[in-house]
Each structure stands twice: as structure tokens, then as C-alpha cells.
Subunit: 204 residues, 2 copies
DNA sequence: CTTATATTGTGAAACAAATAGCAACACCAC
DNA sequence: GTGGTGTTGCTATTTGTTTCACAATATAAG
């Protein structure tokens, strides 16, 4: 099954919101309720759920627990996936402390830097190694995903090392665009671009 | 002129890359060169430039300085725009220290928090006020854009205050989806969603 | 001058995503 | 049970974006 990228993103967010609903004691939810919480239309919610083959009851809506379980089946790997943070500066540390313990199936197992002040210590609760131990740790810990938060000038070099070490997904937060071969997945996000887009919109 | 959102985002990135090229002493650039640096196709670059009405020379390509100036005319306001950071936690501080002095036309003028440890001091180079001074400062400094990095449970409440104070663009980094009226522009980004999307892609 | 080559600019086709429209169904009030 | 209401599930349509294909043009080499 080949899901549209946007649908996968929304599934991740549905799940987070559904966890909150479970915590509030809800068992069922209607498409329009979920839509409202996510600021989209009920049609879109239903279409996403149709794509993953989930059916609700016409009177009670969707069974939250079942839906959460199905989304988990689609997004999570059975054994979970291991993540590393590469570049333990301000942003790397913020992400690490935020993410720690948030998800069962996605675990930050290590961080890397080339600044000796930061290496061979626990930083933000995670062991931080020197970048030249990258390959070793990636192989030992079976790391599949890396978050790239190094200084911009190191981006290409470090990305190359990541791919050589066998990382299959890169989340690039540096301001430098990356190119990856087809067997590696890349997501990029740049805060300056978002701000400039807002500036353009607000201006008009 | 109504530009596609994706085009606006790329224009912001073209400009950043073009600044680097100017620094390296280049005066002209071809669509395929720019495309390669941004990891997209030359057709797409040309299409974007066509949309903003910029023409290059068939032999030398595009005049970098002119192109940068035109992108500036489209994205920037003449007087510039003022930005605030709301929620001076790990992420808010990382963004502030990163952004400081990066752009002429987009200036972070203040930060806000409700933690008395952080307020009425300079944090990461920016004055940090108590959240109850929000309206006052927004009006005095003519703030048009806010970056929202407060704790998740405060999101709706603070967003409401921002809009009441007259902010027209919100960049929401909390994990809580927001709804805004049509005269306010909203961009949202969530790191957990990106990681889960990567997890989905890598898994398959 | 003529030809080969490299480039830009753009209409049209293809693709991706969001939205509309509606049939089918379950439930409730009476 | 019958009619009204609110819901899901699905197909068709619309909208937005990217890619294809190629005409037009400038330059350089022969
Ligand atoms: N902080 C933000 O809000 C923000 C926003 C957008 C983009 N970025 C980008 O994210 C990246 C990190 O930003 P930051 O604010 O954390 O910067 P930072 O300077 O605080 O952190 C960069 C870290 O990378 C490490 N590093 C440098 N070269 C390295 C190498 N070769 N190998 C391993 N580690 C190396 C440095 O030692 C440092 O710890 C930058 O590329 C920046 O452009 C940051
Ligand atoms: N750090 C990350 O990488 C990351 C990633 C994704 C999302 N987020 C989201 O970004 C937000 C901030 O993350 P963080 O890691 O910086 O958390 P943090 O706890 O370090 O910072 C939150 C800040 O908001 C302030 N705050 C709380 N309530 C407030 C209120 N009513 N008014 C003003 N200020 C208030 C707190 O005093 C604190 O300084 C959170 O919503 C989090 O979910 C963070």
C-alpha cells in the first residue's frame, strides 16, 4: 500500500490527538470531531481513514483504540527504530530534551559532535560521541534515522558519513539543501524559509 | 500577483544560495546550476522565475544581483517586519540565538515568557518580557509575526492573545494544531510528525 | 555564413491533493 | 414501522503543482 505523504503526516497527528482523547476517557470519535481538533474537514479525515482501510460505525463513529492500533501498524516498525542526533548545538540539545521518552517505537540512542567539550559525556540525557565513532555506533545500535543539526559548513561532509554508515532516513535541519540517493529518504525543514513565507503572506 | 506557496518557499531558498554565489564572486548563474544546488530540476527553477516575471539571458543565464533584488521586492516589506518569540524555553532560545542578525528585513524585537526567572532580562540577546506585556509591546513595536514556542497546554490561550494584540502571522512550533481566522496567516511544523513520516518511509 | 550546441521560456500533459456530492446505513422519536 | 437526522464510504471533480516537450534564441566553431 502506497500512502500519500500528506496522509502519512496527518496519520501521525491523528494518533497524537487520539491519545489525548483516550486519556480523557473517550472510546469513540466522529470524523468531524477529529477534523475540528486538527483544523481540517471531516471529508479529509474520512478519506485518510479510507486509504488505510479503516471502517467506523455509522452511528458511533470510529473506535479510537482500534484506530490508534492501526495507525501504529502502518507507521511503526515492530522492533522500533533507532535515531541519532548529529550536531549537539542549541538546536540538537533542544530536540533531544524534548523528544526523550516521547515515543516507544522511536528512540534516540546517541548523539554526535566534533567539539571535544561535548563528546564522551551525557548531554541532555543521551550519550554524545565524537563524530569519528559514527559508523561504529550506527552499526552497533542499528540506527536507521539521523537528525542533522550540525553547523551549515559541515552538512555535506557529515551527510556523506551518515549514508556510508548505513543510515536510511535523514531529517535535515541545517540551512543547506542535501541530495541523497534513491534508497535514502530525506526530509528537510528550514525555519528561515517559513518566516520569509509568512512575511510574504502578511505583507499582502 | 498570486504566487504558489511552494514557489514562495523556493524563492526564499534561491535567494539564500544566491547570496553565497555572490560571495564567491559569481555574477551570472544558469537554471541548471541553481537547480543542482537546491536539488531540483532546471525546469522548475525556470518556471518559478517565469512566475515572478524575471528573464535571463540565453547565453549567460540569470544576473544574480538583479534576481536577488527582485526576490527581495517580492518577499520583503519596504520597512521590514518585526518578529517576537513567545515561549523562551529550549526551542525558543535556540531559534533566537540562531536568527539574531540573520536578516535585515526580519528582526526579532522581543521575547515573552510567563516564567519569572526568564522575564525582564536579556535572554539570547533579546529582551524577554512577561507575557502580560504582550499587547503593549506588539503595539509599540508594530510586531506582525510571532513564533510560538510555549508549552503545549498554553498554546490556544497564547495564540488568542497574539491575535487580539494584532499579530498577523503565526509560526506554530507547539505540537498543538491551531485554528486562525482568515486574516491571520499560520504556518505549523512539527518535528515528531517528520520523524514518524521518515520512520514510515524507512520501514517500507 | 552555416551548423552545432547550450540555454531560456512556455503551452500542454501528468500527477498529487483537496473538495464536493451523494448513496447507503444506523439510530431515534413517535 | 416510518420519517427524520446524522453518519460513513466512495466516486467524481476541482485545484494546485510538477514535469514534458519543444520553439525561440544566442553563441561559438568551422
Ligand atoms: N537553532 C535554530 O533555530 C536553527 C534554525 C534553522 C536552522 N538551523 C541550523 O541548524 C544547525 C544547528 O544550529 P544550532 O543553532 O544548533 O547551531 P550550533 O552552532 O549551536 O550547533 C552546531 C553544532 O554542530 C557541531 N558541529 C560542527 N561541525 C561538526 C562536524 N563536522 N561534526 C559534528 N558536529 C559538528 C558544533 O560543535 C555544534 O555543537 C545549523 O546548520 C543551523 O543553520 C538552526
Ligand atoms: N524542543 C523541540 O525540539 C520541540 C520540538 C517540537 C515541538 N516542540 C514544542 O515546542 C514548545 C516548546 O518546546 P521547548 O522544548 O522549548 O519547551 P520548554 O519547556 O523548554 O519551553 C516552554 C516555555 O514556554 C513557557 N511558557 C509556558 N506557558 C507559558 C505561557 N502561558 N505564556 C508564556 N510562556 C509560557 C515556559 O516558561 C517555557 O519557558 C512545546 O510546545 C513543544 O511541544 C519542541
Amino acid at each position: 500500500m502506497e500512502l500519500p505523504g500528506k496522509t502519512v503526516e496527518r496519520l501521525s497527528q491523528y494518533r497524537r490527538i487520539l491519545y489525548d482523547s483516550i486519556r480523557e476517557g473517550k472510546n469513540y470519535i466522529y470524523s468531524h470531531e477529529l477534523a475540528k481538533m486538527m483544523n481540517l474537514t471531516s471529508v479529509q479525515v474520512r478519506r485518510d481513514l479510507m486509504l488505510i482501510g479503516y471502517s467506523g460505525s455509522q452511528s458511533k463513529g470510529y473506535v479510537i483504540k482500534d484506530l490508534v492500533a492501526l495507525i501504529g501498524k502502518i507507521i511503526d516498525s515492530d522492533q522500533g527504530q533507532h535515531i541519532i542526533i548529529v550536531g549537539m548545538g542549541n538546536l540538537g540539545r533542544a530536540i533531544t530534551s524534548y523528544f526523550a521518552g516521547k515515543r516507544d517505537k522511536l528512540v534516540i540512542v546517541a548523539a554526535f559532535d566534533n567539539d571535544l567539550q561535548k563528546t564522551d559525556r551525557i548531554v541532555a540525557g543521551i550519550p554524545c560521541y565524537h563524530i569519528n565513532k559514527l559508523r561504529e555506533v550506527v552499526e552497533a545500535e542499528k540506527v536507521s534515522i539521523a537528525v542533522l543539526t550540525v553547523a551549515p559548513e559541515a552538512t555535506h561532509d557529515v551527510a556523506k558519513k551518515l549514508m556510508e554508515a548505513g543510515v536510511k532516513g535523514i531529517l535535515n535541519y541545517t540551512s543547506v539543501p542535501l541530495t541523497v540517493p534513491p534508497d535514502v529518504y530525506l526530509e528537510e525543514y528550514d525555519i528561515v524559509t517559513s518566516l520569509e513565507k509568512l512575511a510574504y503572506l502578511v505583507k499582502s
